[in-house]
Protein backbone atom coordinates (compact mmCIF):
# COMPACT_ATOMS: atom_id res chain seq x y z
CA UNK A 1 0.00 0.00 0.00
CA UNK A 2 2.78 2.43 0.98
CA UNK A 3 4.89 1.35 -2.00
CA UNK A 4 2.06 2.17 -4.39
CA UNK A 5 1.68 5.64 -2.82
CA UNK A 6 -1.72 4.97 -1.30
CA UNK A 7 -3.31 5.72 2.06
CA UNK A 8 -6.26 4.05 3.73
CA UNK A 9 -9.26 6.25 4.53
CA UNK A 10 -11.88 3.74 5.61
CA UNK A 11 -12.36 0.05 6.43
CA UNK A 12 -15.06 -1.98 4.67
CA UNK A 13 -14.61 -5.36 6.40
CA UNK A 14 -12.20 -6.79 8.96
CA UNK A 15 -11.32 -10.39 8.34
CA UNK A 16 -9.52 -13.43 9.73
CA UNK A 17 -9.34 -17.02 8.60
CA UNK A 18 -12.48 -18.92 9.56
CA UNK A 19 -13.70 -22.48 9.53
CA UNK A 20 -17.00 -22.64 7.68
CA UNK A 21 -19.48 -25.46 7.23
CA UNK A 22 -22.30 -26.12 4.86
CA UNK A 23 -25.69 -25.37 6.37
CA UNK A 24 -27.26 -28.56 5.07
CA UNK A 25 -24.50 -31.00 6.03
CA UNK A 26 -25.36 -33.88 8.32
CA UNK A 27 -22.04 -35.67 8.36
CA UNK A 28 -20.95 -36.86 11.80
CA UNK A 29 -17.24 -36.14 11.22
CA UNK A 30 -17.89 -32.39 10.89
CA UNK A 31 -18.18 -32.03 14.66
CA UNK A 32 -15.11 -34.19 15.25
CA UNK A 33 -12.91 -32.13 12.94
CA UNK A 34 -14.30 -28.85 14.27
CA UNK A 35 -13.56 -29.86 17.85
CA UNK A 36 -10.05 -31.00 16.92
CA UNK A 37 -9.33 -27.68 15.22
CA UNK A 38 -10.77 -25.83 18.21
CA UNK A 39 -8.42 -27.79 20.45
CA UNK A 40 -5.35 -27.01 18.36
CA UNK A 41 -6.20 -23.30 18.16
CA UNK A 42 -6.73 -23.03 21.92
CA UNK A 43 -3.48 -24.91 22.60
CA UNK A 44 -1.33 -22.51 20.60
CA UNK A 45 0.70 -19.94 22.53
CA UNK A 46 -0.72 -16.47 22.89
CA UNK A 47 0.15 -14.54 19.76
CA UNK A 48 0.87 -11.28 21.55
CA UNK A 49 3.59 -12.96 23.66
CA UNK A 50 5.81 -13.88 20.73
Amino acid sequence: MKAAGLKAIDTVVESTAVLVKSRNTKHELVDLIASRIRGVISMLPCRSCI
Binding site: M1, A3, A4, G5, L6, K7, A8, I9, D10, T11, V12, V13, E14, S15, T16, A17, V18, L19, V20, K21, S22, R23, N24, T25, H27, L29, V30, I33, A34, R36, I37, R38, G39, V40, I41, M43, L44, P45, R47, I50
Partner: protein, 266 residues
Protein backbone atom coordinates in the same frame (compact mmCIF):
# COMPACT_ATOMS: atom_id res chain seq x y z
CA UNK B 1 11.86 -42.91 40.71
CA UNK B 2 10.28 -40.13 38.75
CA UNK B 3 9.52 -40.98 35.19
CA UNK B 4 9.77 -38.09 32.86
CA UNK B 5 8.78 -38.02 29.25
CA UNK B 6 12.22 -39.00 28.08
CA UNK B 7 12.94 -41.73 30.69
CA UNK B 8 12.99 -45.28 29.47
CA UNK B 9 12.64 -47.71 32.40
CA UNK B 10 14.82 -50.53 31.15
CA UNK B 11 17.70 -48.35 30.01
CA UNK B 12 20.96 -48.11 31.93
CA UNK B 13 22.12 -44.62 32.96
CA UNK B 14 24.69 -44.56 30.16
CA UNK B 15 22.26 -45.37 27.45
CA UNK B 16 19.69 -43.13 29.05
CA UNK B 17 22.03 -40.20 28.68
CA UNK B 18 22.37 -41.02 25.02
CA UNK B 19 18.63 -41.28 24.55
CA UNK B 20 17.68 -38.55 22.13
CA UNK B 21 15.11 -36.03 23.30
CA UNK B 22 13.13 -36.61 20.20
CA UNK B 23 10.91 -39.66 20.25
CA UNK B 24 11.09 -42.63 17.93
CA UNK B 25 9.54 -42.02 14.57
CA UNK B 26 6.60 -44.31 14.57
CA UNK B 27 4.25 -44.55 11.69
CA UNK B 28 0.64 -44.44 12.68
CA UNK B 29 -1.01 -47.28 10.76
CA UNK B 30 -3.47 -46.06 8.20
CA UNK B 31 -7.01 -47.38 8.18
CA UNK B 32 -7.24 -49.56 5.12
CA UNK B 33 -10.47 -49.87 3.26
CA UNK B 34 -10.71 -53.44 2.00
CA UNK B 35 -10.60 -53.56 -1.77
CA UNK B 36 -13.44 -55.67 -3.16
CA UNK B 37 -12.45 -58.79 -5.09
CA UNK B 38 -13.70 -57.34 -8.37
CA UNK B 39 -11.24 -54.50 -8.13
CA UNK B 40 -8.18 -56.45 -7.01
CA UNK B 41 -6.77 -56.93 -10.46
CA UNK B 42 -7.54 -53.43 -11.67
CA UNK B 43 -4.93 -50.76 -12.16
CA UNK B 44 -3.86 -48.48 -9.36
CA UNK B 45 -5.67 -45.45 -10.75
CA UNK B 46 -8.98 -47.30 -10.83
CA UNK B 47 -8.56 -48.37 -7.24
CA UNK B 48 -7.68 -44.80 -6.37
CA UNK B 49 -10.89 -43.61 -7.98
CA UNK B 50 -12.87 -46.27 -6.17
CA UNK B 51 -11.44 -45.16 -2.85
CA UNK B 52 -12.26 -41.58 -3.65
CA UNK B 53 -15.82 -42.43 -4.57
CA UNK B 54 -16.21 -44.12 -1.21
CA UNK B 55 -15.19 -41.07 0.75
CA UNK B 56 -18.28 -39.40 2.01
CA UNK B 57 -16.98 -36.29 3.67
CA UNK B 58 -14.84 -33.59 2.23
CA UNK B 59 -12.96 -30.54 3.39
CA UNK B 60 -11.51 -27.88 1.20
CA UNK B 61 -9.13 -25.10 1.90
CA UNK B 62 -7.37 -22.16 0.45
CA UNK B 63 -4.52 -22.53 -2.00
CA UNK B 64 -3.53 -18.90 -1.80
CA UNK B 65 -0.27 -17.96 -0.16
CA UNK B 66 -1.38 -16.07 2.88
CA UNK B 67 -3.46 -18.81 4.40
CA UNK B 68 -1.89 -21.91 2.94
CA UNK B 69 1.04 -22.70 5.22
CA UNK B 70 -0.90 -21.93 8.38
CA UNK B 71 -3.75 -24.13 7.18
CA UNK B 72 -1.41 -27.02 6.42
CA UNK B 73 0.14 -26.66 9.90
CA UNK B 74 -3.31 -26.59 11.43
CA UNK B 75 -4.37 -29.79 9.66
CA UNK B 76 -1.13 -31.48 10.73
CA UNK B 77 -1.86 -30.44 14.31
CA UNK B 78 -5.31 -32.03 14.05
CA UNK B 79 -3.71 -35.35 13.04
CA UNK B 80 -5.18 -35.22 9.58
CA UNK B 81 -2.55 -37.14 7.65
CA UNK B 82 -2.30 -36.73 3.92
CA UNK B 83 0.24 -36.37 1.18
CA UNK B 84 -0.48 -33.92 -1.56
CA UNK B 85 0.80 -34.99 -4.95
CA UNK B 86 2.17 -32.21 -7.10
CA UNK B 87 -0.37 -30.78 -9.54
CA UNK B 88 -3.26 -32.60 -7.90
CA UNK B 89 -5.99 -30.65 -6.16
CA UNK B 90 -7.33 -33.63 -4.24
CA UNK B 91 -5.63 -35.43 -1.37
CA UNK B 92 -7.04 -38.42 0.47
CA UNK B 93 -6.58 -38.54 4.21
CA UNK B 94 -4.88 -41.69 5.48
CA UNK B 95 -6.47 -42.01 8.89
CA UNK B 96 -10.00 -40.67 8.33
CA UNK B 97 -12.58 -41.33 5.62
CA UNK B 98 -12.31 -37.81 4.20
CA UNK B 99 -10.82 -36.10 1.18
CA UNK B 100 -9.16 -32.70 1.02
CA UNK B 101 -9.69 -30.40 -1.95
CA UNK B 102 -7.41 -27.44 -2.54
CA UNK B 103 -9.20 -24.48 -4.11
CA UNK B 104 -8.66 -20.74 -4.49
CA UNK B 105 -9.93 -18.95 -1.36
CA UNK B 106 -12.60 -17.07 -3.30
CA UNK B 107 -14.20 -20.27 -4.61
CA UNK B 108 -14.52 -22.02 -1.26
CA UNK B 109 -17.76 -20.35 -0.04
CA UNK B 110 -19.47 -21.37 -3.31
CA UNK B 111 -18.34 -24.99 -3.03
CA UNK B 112 -19.29 -25.19 0.65
CA UNK B 113 -22.57 -23.31 0.33
CA UNK B 114 -23.91 -24.94 -2.80
CA UNK B 115 -21.83 -28.05 -3.36
CA UNK B 116 -21.28 -31.27 -1.50
CA UNK B 117 -18.28 -30.03 0.45
CA UNK B 118 -18.96 -30.08 4.17
CA UNK B 119 -16.20 -27.97 5.71
CA UNK B 120 -13.93 -25.25 4.43
CA UNK B 121 -11.18 -22.94 5.63
CA UNK B 122 -11.13 -19.48 4.06
CA UNK B 123 -11.20 -15.78 4.93
CA UNK B 124 -14.21 -14.08 6.44
CA UNK B 125 -13.97 -11.47 3.68
CA UNK B 126 -14.51 -14.16 1.06
CA UNK B 127 -17.56 -15.48 2.91
CA UNK B 128 -18.93 -11.93 3.19
CA UNK B 129 -18.36 -11.36 -0.55
CA UNK B 130 -20.18 -14.61 -1.36
CA UNK B 131 -23.10 -13.63 0.89
CA UNK B 132 -23.26 -10.13 -0.62
CA UNK B 133 -23.64 -11.64 -4.10
CA UNK B 134 -26.69 -13.69 -3.11
CA UNK B 135 -30.13 -12.49 -4.22
CA UNK B 136 -31.87 -10.37 -1.59
CA UNK B 137 -33.72 -12.37 1.04
CA UNK B 138 -31.89 -15.63 0.34
CA UNK B 139 -30.09 -17.19 3.30
CA UNK B 140 -26.49 -18.18 2.78
CA UNK B 141 -25.56 -21.86 2.72
CA UNK B 142 -22.29 -21.08 4.48
CA UNK B 143 -22.20 -21.05 8.25
CA UNK B 144 -19.20 -19.88 10.26
CA UNK B 145 -18.11 -22.42 12.86
CA UNK B 146 -14.91 -21.07 14.32
CA UNK B 147 -12.62 -18.05 14.15
CA UNK B 148 -9.15 -19.45 13.52
CA UNK B 149 -7.36 -16.26 14.57
CA UNK B 150 -4.71 -16.14 11.87
CA UNK B 151 -4.52 -14.44 8.48
CA UNK B 152 -5.94 -11.23 9.88
CA UNK B 153 -6.51 -8.54 7.26
CA UNK B 154 -8.67 -5.52 6.51
CA UNK B 155 -10.55 -4.64 3.36
CA UNK B 156 -9.84 -0.91 3.12
CA UNK B 157 -10.74 2.02 0.91
CA UNK B 158 -7.47 3.48 -0.37
CA UNK B 159 -6.75 6.68 -2.27
CA UNK B 160 -3.54 8.28 -3.59
CA UNK B 161 -1.47 9.78 -0.79
CA UNK B 162 -0.92 13.07 -2.61
CA UNK B 163 -4.53 13.58 -3.63
CA UNK B 164 -7.11 15.71 -1.80
CA UNK B 165 -9.51 12.88 -0.93
CA UNK B 166 -9.74 12.23 2.80
CA UNK B 167 -13.28 10.93 3.18
CA UNK B 168 -14.93 8.00 1.36
CA UNK B 169 -17.93 10.27 0.58
CA UNK B 170 -15.72 12.23 -1.80
CA UNK B 171 -15.41 9.07 -3.92
CA UNK B 172 -19.15 8.97 -4.72
CA UNK B 173 -19.63 9.18 -8.48
CA UNK B 174 -16.01 8.27 -9.23
CA UNK B 175 -14.28 5.11 -10.43
CA UNK B 176 -13.44 2.38 -7.91
CA UNK B 177 -11.43 -0.72 -8.76
CA UNK B 178 -11.57 -3.81 -6.56
CA UNK B 179 -11.62 -7.60 -6.41
CA UNK B 180 -14.55 -7.50 -3.96
CA UNK B 181 -17.25 -5.91 -6.11
CA UNK B 182 -20.28 -7.04 -4.10
CA UNK B 183 -18.91 -5.77 -0.76
CA UNK B 184 -17.75 -2.51 -2.36
CA UNK B 185 -21.13 -1.89 -3.97
CA UNK B 186 -22.89 -2.57 -0.69
CA UNK B 187 -20.49 -0.18 1.08
CA UNK B 188 -21.09 2.63 -1.42
CA UNK B 189 -24.84 1.98 -1.44
CA UNK B 190 -24.77 2.67 2.29
CA UNK B 191 -22.74 5.86 1.73
CA UNK B 192 -24.94 7.13 -1.10
CA UNK B 193 -28.12 6.35 0.80
CA UNK B 194 -26.85 8.17 3.91
CA UNK B 195 -26.60 5.02 5.99
CA UNK B 196 -29.68 3.38 4.51
CA UNK B 197 -28.73 1.13 1.60
CA UNK B 198 -32.38 0.25 0.84
CA UNK B 199 -32.76 3.66 -0.87
CA UNK B 200 -30.45 2.41 -3.60
CA UNK B 201 -32.14 -0.93 -4.27
CA UNK B 202 -32.65 -1.69 -7.93
CA UNK B 203 -35.60 -3.75 -9.13
CA UNK B 204 -34.48 -7.29 -9.84
CA UNK B 205 -31.38 -7.21 -7.64
CA UNK B 206 -28.22 -5.13 -7.55
CA UNK B 207 -27.73 -1.49 -6.64
CA UNK B 208 -28.53 1.81 -8.31
CA UNK B 209 -25.21 3.59 -7.83
CA UNK B 210 -23.57 6.66 -9.30
CA UNK B 211 -20.20 5.24 -8.25
CA UNK B 212 -18.68 2.98 -10.89
CA UNK B 213 -17.25 -0.21 -9.38
CA UNK B 214 -15.01 -2.24 -11.68
CA UNK B 215 -13.58 -5.70 -11.16
CA UNK B 216 -9.87 -6.47 -11.33
CA UNK B 217 -8.54 -9.89 -10.35
CA UNK B 218 -5.11 -8.89 -9.05
CA UNK B 219 -2.66 -5.99 -8.72
CA UNK B 220 -5.47 -3.75 -7.56
CA UNK B 221 -3.01 -1.30 -6.00
CA UNK B 222 -1.63 -0.43 -9.44
CA UNK B 223 -5.02 0.81 -10.69
CA UNK B 224 -4.69 4.34 -9.23
CA UNK B 225 -1.21 4.91 -10.65
CA UNK B 226 -2.29 3.60 -14.05
CA UNK B 227 -5.22 5.99 -14.22
CA UNK B 228 -8.00 3.41 -14.12
CA UNK B 229 -9.40 4.40 -10.75
CA UNK B 230 -9.77 7.34 -8.37
CA UNK B 231 -9.78 4.99 -5.40
CA UNK B 232 -9.45 1.29 -4.73
CA UNK B 233 -10.85 -1.19 -2.22
CA UNK B 234 -8.16 -3.73 -1.39
CA UNK B 235 -6.96 -6.09 1.31
CA UNK B 236 -4.27 -4.98 3.70
CA UNK B 237 -2.58 -7.81 5.58
CA UNK B 238 -1.89 -7.43 9.29
CA UNK B 239 0.97 -9.96 9.40
CA UNK B 240 -0.63 -12.24 11.98
CA UNK B 241 0.57 -15.70 11.19
CA UNK B 242 -0.19 -18.77 13.16
CA UNK B 243 2.69 -19.64 15.43
CA UNK B 244 3.33 -23.35 15.35
CA UNK B 245 6.26 -24.52 17.44
CA UNK B 246 8.20 -26.85 15.16
CA UNK B 247 8.93 -29.41 17.89
CA UNK B 248 5.55 -30.38 19.14
CA UNK B 249 4.58 -33.08 16.64
CA UNK B 250 7.60 -35.18 17.60
CA UNK B 251 7.07 -34.44 21.31
CA UNK B 252 3.48 -35.53 21.08
CA UNK B 253 4.53 -38.68 19.31
CA UNK B 254 7.10 -39.43 21.96
CA UNK B 255 4.69 -38.76 24.78
CA UNK B 256 2.22 -41.25 23.34
CA UNK B 257 4.86 -43.91 22.84
CA UNK B 258 6.31 -43.62 26.35
CA UNK B 259 2.94 -43.73 28.10
CA UNK B 260 1.92 -46.75 26.06
CA UNK B 261 5.16 -48.64 26.66
CA UNK B 262 5.67 -48.15 30.38
CA UNK B 263 2.78 -50.21 31.80
CA UNK B 264 3.57 -53.14 29.51
CA UNK B 265 7.19 -53.33 30.67
CA UNK B 266 6.28 -53.37 34.34
Amino acid sequence: MIYTETTDITDSPQSRRKTPLRGPKEQVPAIKTPIPRVLRRRTISQIYLYHFANRTWQICHSTEGRLQQATLDLLAGCDIQFRRETRLDIALVKNLPIALIFLPAADIPTFVGEGRVDLGITGRDQVAEHDAKLPRGETSGVEEVLDLGFGMCKLQVQVPEKGDITDPRQLIGKNIVTSFTALTEAFFAKLEGDGDPSKRYREGGGWDLSTKVKYVGGSVEAACALGVADGIVDLVGMCTLLYFPSVWPSRANHYCSSTLQSPARR
